[in-house]
């Protein structure tokens, strides 16, 4: 008689063993504890923190968010407590937690990126870092690091020198060819790539004639962007050897599976956390149910199984 065995959801990324391929997207999960009342943090594949900067950041003026058809625009402005407060106040909340913690961070100059990386390098509670390169370089006319392959490679090289922890680089979709950037950061020493960040968008209040968010433009997220994200993840998977984490409008297990099938080793869930704080648990359970339905015993049999 065949014994009933639960399928394995374990995946490996950059030397990290994750109990399942589901983790929050940075900026949608606070620092983690905000969601402890709704889900057991130990069930997640990993925790990804809000983006950290060298100094605390106030963020953008209000209004910062607007719902659009099947999506939302946000221009929060990377409001965060700063890397030092994170280390002294937030990182202690991860002690005893058997879930990898990925610290997301950003800078507005190369020096800032390097300095934040250096401060995170020796924090024992931080398992890995995720580098957000979707920021303007204020010292070079505001060109966004992540839209220029040389600037992207430069910042990755610098950060790579500062720490030994697994380094995930998060790519912006607001480029002509994402594979060029993906190859550049791979060559510069990234251990993994996560994509996509939000797509720049805009929405207008027709009565007041004003943009609905004070920053005028914002980042579009939610199910509206998912087909674009799946396409870009597919392209990046084809272009690089390092593992890719898929992000973009995942609401359900079926959505997550699309990313896994095109070759993402794991996925990040963002906007869905706002709508249902326990959304990731349903996605994890749904992936397991899918594997059982399909008669598979390991999620790695699904990853990269795209036929075309």
């Amino acid at each position: 008689m065949k014994t009933l065995k639960r399928p394995s959801l374990v995946v490996e990324i950059a030397g990290m063993r994750l109990r399942n391929p589901v983790m929050p997207a940075s900026g949608t999960f606070g620092y983690g504890q905000e969601f402890a009342p709704f889900l057991d943090l130990q069930r997640l594949g990993a925790i990804v923190t809000k983006g950290l900067s060298l100094k605390p950041k106030a963020g953008n003026p209000m209004p910062r968010i607007a719902e659009t058809t099947s999506g939302m625009l946000n221009a929060i402005g990377l409001q965060n407590v700063g890397v030092d407060a994170f280390i002294t106040e937030k990182s202690v909340t991860y002690r005893g937690l058997n879930t990898p913690v990925i610290a997301n961070f950003f800078g507005n100059t190369l020096d800032e990126y390097g300095e934040v990386a250096r401060r995170l390098a020796d924090v024992p509670e931080v398992t890995a870092v995720e580098l957000n390169i979707s920021c303007p370089n204020v010292k070079q006319g505001g060109i966004v690091f992540g839209t220029d392959p040389r600037a992207a490679a430069e910042v990755v090289t610098l950060v790579r020198r500062q720490l030994d922890k697994p380094l995930i680089v998060k790519l912006t979709p607001n480029v002509t060819d994402i594979t060029v950037i993906a190859r550049a950061v791979e060559e510069a020493g990234a251990d993994a790539i996560s994509c996509i960040n939000t797509i720049t968008g805009m929405t207008v209040d027709i009565r007041t004639r004003r943009p609905k968010i004070a920053n005028r433009t914002g980042g579009l997220s939610g199910p509206a962007i998912r087909p674009i994200a799946v396409r870009m993840v597919h392209q990046v998977v084809q272009a690089v050897q390092i593992p890719v984490i898929g992000i973009g409008g995942i609401m359900t297990a079926a959505d997550a599976l699309e990313f896994l099938i095109v070759g993402a080793r794991a996925v990040q869930v963002g906007t869905a956390n706002f709508i249902d704080p326990a959304a990731m648990l349903a996605i994890i359970d749904g992936i397991e149910t899918f594997l059982i339905d399909e008669g598979l015993d390991d999620v790695n049999q699904v990853i990269g199984s795209l036929e075309f």
Partner: protein
């Protein structure tokens, strides 16, 4: 706080454009505090995506229909149809499924001193004041409600407050119900008569700012219930922040309306620029 998948018990238009929805919510009444709110959306929410925040109007319990059944606990929201989300809500019926998260946020702080309790509501802003009035009266306080609106259609549920034993004063901009004029004028008159008072207010931003100025001048303690667009309701998205006292670009002091509020002591907020919160009432009740 709990994540409910539950059903609507009733959904009725109580005044043109204003609706009252009763939702089944076991275990809710015991934990909900005056001034807290819920995040709500229909289970099949397309084409909208996010939950919407609504102040808790009241909670209650239906008697068991048959012997042996547990009593059915519910909560009620009052909302104004102002956009797509609230329009979709208004089209739902008893038995339709909704997803509800709550109770959320910080409610009113209740002080058992002998000062007069003045509740000021503007339009849909009366929503969080009902449970507050109920609690104050249960503690033996005399409660006065100053209720303002543009027209008589904007004056809601006053008789329900009166049934609690609240002394009510109604004013409308066009004089179609109660006194003609702004509710702030009534407030000034009451404060002249009762210098030892505490004020609790919810309503559109210009009204909140006017009430704050009146209370600051007279050094009367004030609690304000704010409204904001929210995505998550639990302090993660940072989409509903308001400038706190002493806020500056160098020393930011943004407070989450959802988590540190929606009720704030007036002194917690930066009134110089606190009005950068959405003007008016975007969707649903003031929280």
């Amino acid at each position: 706080m709990k994540n409910y998948q539950t059903i609507i018990l009733s959904n009725l238009e109580i005044s043109p454009g204003y609706w009252r929805m009763r939702i089944l919510a076991p275990g809710f009444a015991a934990v909900a505090k005056p001034g807290q709110f819920v995040m709500l959306r229909p289970e099949l929410a397309l084409p909208t995506l996010l939950r919407r925040p609504f102040g808790i109007f009241r909670t209650g319990c239906l008697p068991p229909e048959c012997a042996g059944l547990p009593a059915r606990e519910y909560l009620e929201i009052l909302y104004k149809v102002v956009g797509q989300g609230t329009r979709i809500l208004s089209e739902l019926h008893a038995g339709d499924r909704v997803e509800l998260l709550g109770p959320l946020g910080q409610g009113f702080a209740i002080n058992d001193n002998t000062c007069e309790k003045l509740l000021v509501g503007g339009g849909i802003g009366l929503v969080p004041l009902f449970l507050l009035a109920d609690e104050l009266i249960r503690r033996g306080h005399h409660v006065r409600l100053l209720m303002g609106g543009r027209t008589r259609d904007d004056i809601l549920a006053v008789t329900e407050f009166e049934r609690l034993g609240v002394e009510t004063y109604v004013s409308t901009d066009d004089g179609s119900l109660g006194e003609e004029g702004l509710v702030t004028r009534v407030l000034e008159r009451k404060l002249a008569k009762y210098p030892c008072a505490e004020v609790y207010v919810c309503g559109p931003m210009p009204m909140l700012a006017a009430v704050e100025q009146i209370c600051r001048t007279r050094q009367v303690p004030l609690q304000v219930s704010l409204e904001a667009h929210m995505a998550c309701g639990v302090g993660a998205c940072l989409g509903c922040v308001v400038k706190g006292a002493g806020h500056s670009e160098e020393r930011p002091n943004y407070l989450c309306t959802c988590k540190e509020g929606p009720v704030f002591a007036a002194g917690q907020l930066d009134w110089g620029r606190a009005t950068t919160v959405d003007d008016g009432c975007p969707e649903g009740g003031c929280r």
